[in-house]
């Protein structure tokens, strides 16, 4: 059951200021409409994880850790490794996050990160099979939201991609029916570098990378995930605004330009 949630109370003064500034193509924090906040990224910071990345966009901080285990494949894809994404909106990240089982927000975030990685074919799941139909590598991607200040989507996708980039896995070999680890650790090969860009929409205006107040004041959101060659592999319109198709197409193109910049900022090299 999805139930309308009370919108966070945003003071009328702030929301008016936001709208007035928007009419002049300006934003409260001085950014231009298509400007991202400062993006920072650290990788390999968790010793016990096979891969990790801490990404912050402005004040939003997301930590992603990857763990790899052996397991059984999904019944309908017996010749593929398993990729599974979970997201936790930690209560310490925001007064609006409560402890408990994942709610629709964390589920929808996890599923979008999953689609961004899976549909971009960043990981060759077929190379992660030890014994077809029986034993495969299972990659767990856990998205840990530490500080929520707007735009969890882009921060999480970026952190997941970077975490995978520095993930190493123990190479197992089959002896008879048993997997044996012979000491070789290999990097997980990333064949794509998915990056997402998210817009907040206000009537016919849209801004990229909404911060917390902008997110509370906006009507809706749309996120696009791109691959390195400019194809799009995941799109998600969220929130309650409605958009014309020409707005969608404009944002698609602007997002692509920004995605290229972001990839370079976090150190992706051709």
């Amino acid at each position: 059951m999805s139930v309308t949630r009370e919108r966070p109370v945003i003071s009328k003064i702030l929301s008016k200021e936001l709208m007035d500034l928007l009419k002049q193509d300006k934003r409260v924090d001085g950014r231009s409409l298509h400007e991202y906040r400062k993006i920072e990224c650290e990788t390999g910071i968790l010793e016990k994880a096979e891969g990790s990345a801490l990404v912050s966009i402005g004040d939003t901080k997301v930590l992603v850790g990857t763990k790899i285990e052996l397991g059984t494949p999904f019944p309908d894809t017996p010749d593929q490794g398993v990729l599974t994404v979970n997201a936790e909106l930690l209560p310490l990240a925001s007064p609006s996050f409560e402890p408990g089982p994942p709610d629709e927000r964390s589920i929808s975030l996890a599923r979008y990160v999953d689609r961004s990685i899976r549909e971009s074919k960043a990981i060759d799941l077929e190379s992660l099979v030890l014994q077809g139909g029986k034993l495969v590598y299972v990659i767990y991607i856990d998205v840990y939201v530490l500080d929520y200040s707007g735009n969890l989507t882009d921060t999480s996708v970026l952190a997941a991609t970077k975490a995978l980039e520095n993930t190493k896995l123990r190479k197992y070999e089959l002896e008879g029916d048993l997997p044996v680890f012979k000491g070789e650790v290999v990097p997980l090969v990333l064949k794509e570098f998915p990056v997402s860009t998210t817009f907040g929409t206000f009537g016919d205006k849209y801004i990229i990378d909404p911060n917390l107040e902008e997110e509370h004041a906006s009507e809706g959101f749309i996120s696009f995930t791109y691959t390195i060659d400019g194809k799009v592999c995941a799109v998600m319109k969220n929130g309650q605004g409605h958009l014309s198709h020409s707005q969608v197409f404009e944002m698609l193109e602007i997002g692509w330009e920004k995605a290229k910049e972001i990839a370079r900022i976090v150190g992706w090299r051709e």
Partner: protein
């Protein structure tokens, strides 16, 4: 690369079920299907069978979630255990939780919730038989059920999915095309406002293909909208053109 199990587009450019790339599946609408609900519809699109029911506006329980200035919406998108090939557990899956939210967000702009503060409008979408495109078919059905219930709406929402299969852009994917094709793009559209209220995509497409697919979906939605309007109007046909009368 895995070998494609089935050829999705044949040499004549026709799809598995014989449709042209831009052809919708046949749609059947039966309004007021459930007598108990305030509004309901049995909606069929190809092999998809969806039941949508609306209750309300009514008082909110528990009271603390009511909103002082508007009605809240409760949306449940759910697939019956027998709706798919392999029995699905009745417990809500992560996908159903996400889609319930996505559908609710797509309906919020059109329901005039500000007219009924402190109440709830409950919308139930039960997929009895699934064959691709259930979230958008569910949305088209939910809109009809809302109109059938007499809930004031700013407009109607029509939904269908476009996508790519066998290298070709196609409209209204069935389950096989969704599972084995290259991309799936559900779009919901409000024709009277010329606005998109739901848009998702997974798969791989060039940006150009994305734009073409969105336009294709919007065209499909215009056709579905015409069917929605026709079905609502047919429930209320004044006999022999008499209108709005009061006799003396």
């Amino acid at each position: 690369m895995t070998e494609r199990k089935t050829k999705l587009i044949d040499e004549r450019g026709l799809r598995l079920d014989g449709r042209r790339p831009d052809e919708l599946r046949p749609i059947r609408i039966e309004l007021g299907y459930l007598k108990h609900a305030d509004g309901s519809v049995l909606y069929e699109q190809g092999k998809c069978k969806i039941l949508a029911a609306v209750f309300g506006p009514s008082e909110v329980h528990p009271k603390h979630i009511e909103l002082p200035d508007r009605a809240i919406l409760r949306v449940r998108y759910h697939m019956a255990p027998f709706s798919v090939e392999e029995r699905k557990s009745p417990a809500p899956s992560r996908r159903e939780i996400e889609l319930s939210m996505v559908i609710r967000n797509a309906l919020e702009p059109i329901v005039m919730t500000e007219l009924f503060p402190r109440t709830v409008v409950a919308i139930f979408i039960e997929v009895l038989q699934a064959d691709g495109g259930t979230r958008v078919a569910g949305l088209s059905a939910a809109t009809l059920a809302l109109a059938d219930a007499g809930i004031p709406l700013r407009g109607l929402v029509a939904g269908c999915a476009a996508g790519k299969a066998g290298g070709t852009l196609i409209l209204d994917l069935n389950d096989t095309e969704d599972k084995e094709g290259e991309a799936d793009l559900p779009v919901a559209y409000i024709p009277t406002m010329n606005k998109i209220s739901l848009l998702q995509m997974d798969g791989m497409m060039t940006r150009e293909e994305f734009k073409q697919a969105v336009s294709m979906a919007i065209n499909g939605n215009m056709k579905i909208y015409a069917l929605q309007v026709a079905s609502l109007k047919s429930k209320y046909t004044p006999p022999e053109g008499q209108e709005g009368g009061e006799d003396q």
